[in-house]
Symmetry: D2
Subunit: 337 residues, 4 copies
């Protein structure tokens, strides 16, 4: 039985508590939050759980084997590092850290101590996303050409991070999961419309070594909420619409056909193909439920998580590079290998 | 009565012929196309019109007062220049020319001769776009923050231009019409997935002198057709969906409210406001019908067209700069003043 | 402080418990369910509440002032009557009873004892529905012509009632709330496709004294879920789409204009008018929250609930008449005055 | 070469002319309309065609082998009968006649003379509808349970027919084409909201000998246009949305599974099955083009048309019975065998 301590009972923490409560092999022992009001709510809902305002009290509790960190980004590093140093496994909210340097240290610390470091990239545990990976792995899908995502809404301005760290982080984890290649450089643009506030709109283009390209559109000031991703390939194309209630994944039997222009050796004729559309059924279980079970499973069997520290670090590196390019109005910034 | 000659009877030419036929004050005299089969079709549909395969024959016909050029982009400059030199007014398909230098010469030639040079930026004559301009001009709209457009579909690969010149040209004309400011620099990214073919996907970010920013997403390899533009402001926001059959324009009473954080002089509190949505009725007349009437009206009264050569030139300059940035993977390129 | 006992902790009961827990002036004292497993769940979530498998134990608890009945329809009458006889106020799930006769007895019993009898017609407490009533009350709305609702999905076959009692009950309560007139007769059709099971698809037409008509389409075997109501009037029309995430209510400035045909005294010319569409903002609070507060408020001030026994009885009478007509393949059945 | 005469050049007639012009084996010889202005338009567009205001002049023209009747319903019978008596084949607009008696006489007259009588039920030649028939014919589709169609919009009030004859006629032809069974009785309800005008809203339920049922919702006073048909079966279900630009047909792998309740011999357990959704590609050619070609083909080979007089008669019989039921507020009316 894995004892779990959860630090942060704000927006996301309650989801972690609820799901770990329903996870076989786990028992929630401690909930920590600096705000007494939040702890009252936690205590009322989960009388069996100990509550505390002191993170170290949670981390050092002998009943706690693993710590879930669901606090603002700026505190991820300190809390996760303290937990690892106390010999506890860690599940940390995304983005893993506020920078690459911090991320690398966490990964090293976990490796040195033989502890599990997992990042809560929830999308990767969603039935729809897994179904997309399954489809893309098939021969019939062909080669990927592009990934183009729009993730906009009238959203809360974050205090410590801009819209890239808040929203594009989702697409970076999905791209890391779905695409066989990793991005090598990024050009980002955007703007901060409110004086003294971080960028609220941004557009990111990621280049890859082959002729693959990715684009992410994030916006905190959109009148409508959109969560739409196009994945284009030479044989098939996918639309992933996360707001559709039942058919989030649509696969289009569309693409181009290339033939040599009979009148010239130098040019290629481009033809079109449009066939059926297909919306596959997929696993409906709540993603966080599957993720909590996967975390416990990794701890019990000593296996590596799908969304481990290395992946979390790649995502942070991409965010950091995008931020740097944004500051320079689209100038290309290379990602670390 | 204005005699009209139309050069090019391919995809768009027939629309010009049909609309000029129904325009008071205009009479279609000549239709020109290099392909005899196209001329047969034109002759069958419009027995009163003379057909010819020779553009100069059309341009020099004394019955022709104005020439409409609906040929591929690469021939716009030569044909329009020849028409102007023959003393004919010109309506040229968009983009006006394949480059800024050519565009400037056309504008100068028309000015020197006192002839009308108009560009067929059809969107500007669409009831929905005019309604948007009307709404944005009202006090209650506030300041514009951004223009963000997605214009993608499974489209024909053009031979002589890339996806920017084919699709982004629409947004550049709409932006020129709607936004009080003109863009000063552009960062563009994209990719050519088919060897030997122009770029089929591109993303453009335009910077303005104030804190306004614009983004355009164009793609010839999208499984679904999207024509959606978000226009965000501090008081209201607009969604323009050109594919909606009846409610293309939706105005959202949404925005942010700023108050000084009482606990600090340095930060701003950002609040949200969500109110009604409103889809105004707008003029339903075919845009090209209004445009043809406007062209004739300008000729009769010697007035300047809304989509005149100067506007066409600004659009070409933006396209050229975007192309240059695309080649340099997002590096900022300034637009000519 | 009103002590509340809740009988039935299946699908809907937990929502009642949760909402009464958050209602000022109410305290949930007892939860009753025949299934021990359900009581375990209730006890785990609400340690302060007493649980019991015996409804009379709940009803007779001196700490219980009001009983909420959330059991299958067939048991509503017995439980509600027992509660009233024990001097307790009653909130009963819709439909109030399985027939008119039972319904009338409950209404009489509550009246005789001066107790509150309220029916849980949740839709009436929904912000969107209240906004529609507000709009229809305005002079500018004009006269109602029809109410036409489609309420279909792939739904669970009920054991004791057919699709009319399960789904049309919602529209009957909404019609009772929105329309100034009450229906006088009904023609219903439908079918039971599964042998030994109740009707799974039905279409109901209600006639009114004036030229108003209502239609309800209910179906347990639809591949897609639809919740769409059209309300037509002579000046404006409304579409209520309960599945839209943010714009459930759309008001269309559309209608007809009548003029006397100048060529004839006997005929009327019908013209059309299409203007703006408007999607008003509305109260977003959970309907059941407002309903629980209203129930407590009625008890505290001795006022009549909006969805009281008389209304519940009218709904049951309409359902019973529709059932009778359905059995006779559409033959008109009059409703009781 | 079949010489074609077209009577009626109002809303639909021009579509017939345009399509027969492009049909191999046919030549449009005469266009007839009582309004000189319409004939001017016809003559301008088709200089090779003779125009006349006299239907008999068209019918008796020796160059005319077949007559297409595109006039108001009330004149179909007289014109079609005159054409048949003159020895001409007939394509008549739907509904074929204003009543069963007239329809039977036309069918008999055509049979007696060995002439082709075809009704312009255009939907039957639409790629989407043919694809649906193909899918329903497959073993995997299973048995049909119901057909439920919504066909509403803000439509023109017709002068001589009510909304049933204007809109439900489409569904009756589609049902005749798709369903293996024919309806045996109908219950219809509806209302005329404008004094002196025909019914503008109606709901029709058709019963079949087996446990199949059909429902059609038609309305001339709807704020929004809807063209949606649900076809439910025990193994698969179809949604046909004629307003969708590209995916009009969606096939749902959904249905119910029946098992005997282990605890009882008398009841059936109903389970659910939800699988993939599939939107097949289908023929995109304009339906009327295919229909014109089919008409010519039938004449050339002496074969029977898919939408011949017998089918047209069944549709008229269903409309007449629905009208009778509507007058009696839903009372069941049997259809002639």
């Amino acid at each position: 039985m894995i004892g779990v301590g959860i630090i942060g009972f704000g927006y996301w923490g309650p989801n972690l508590v609820r799901n770990f409560f329903q996870t076989k092999g786990a028992r929630v022992r401690v909930v920590c939050d600096a705000r007494p009001g939040r702890l009252e709510t936690a205590a009322a809902g989960y009388p069996s759980v100990r509550v505390t305002t002191d993170p170290m009290d949670c981390i050092n509790d002998p009943a706690v084997d693993a710590v879930a960190v669901a606090t603002p980004v700026s505190s991820h590093y300190d809390l996760a590092l303290a937990a690892l140093r106390a010999g506890k496994h860690v599940l940390v909210e995304k983005p893993m850290t506020a920078g690459v340097e911090q991320g690398r240290r966490l990964v090293d610390e976990a490796a040195r101590r033989g502890l599990t470091l997992m990042v809560d990239h929830t999308f990767i545990y969603m039935g729809a996303v897994r179904k997309i990976k399954e489809i893309m792995a098939q021969e019939s899908f062909g080669d990927v050409y592009y990934y183009d995502s729009t993730r906009v809404n009238l959203g809360l301005f974050q205090h410590d991070v801009n819209v890239i760290w808040d929203l594009a982080v989702h697409d970076l984890s999905i791209m890391d999961f779905l695409l066989p290649q990793k991005p090598v450089a990024v050009s980002a643009t955007g703007m901060a419309h409110v004086p003294g506030r971080p960028e609220n709109v941004a557009w990111l283009t990621f280049y890859f070594q082959e002729n693959v390209v990715a684009h992410v559109n994030v916006n905190w000031l959109s009148p409508v909420k959109l969560r739409q991703t196009l994945i284009g390939g030479n044989k098939k194309m996918i639309v992933f619409d996360d707001l559709h209630s039942s058919e989030k994944v649509r696969v289009y039997d569309r693409g181009i056909t290339l033939t040599e222009d009979p009148e010239s050796m130098y040019t290629v004729m481009v033809g079109y193909r449009t066939g059926d559309m297909w919306a596959p059924a997929y696993e409906q279980t709540e993603a966080l439920r599957l993720e909590a079970a996967h975390f416990v499973d990794c701890l019990e069997h000593g296996t590596s998580p799908i969304t481990g520290g290395e992946m979390g670090l790649r995502v942070v590196a991409a965010l950091e590079a995008a931020d740097a390019s944004l500051k320079k109005r689209g100038q290309l910034v290379e990602l670390p290998r």
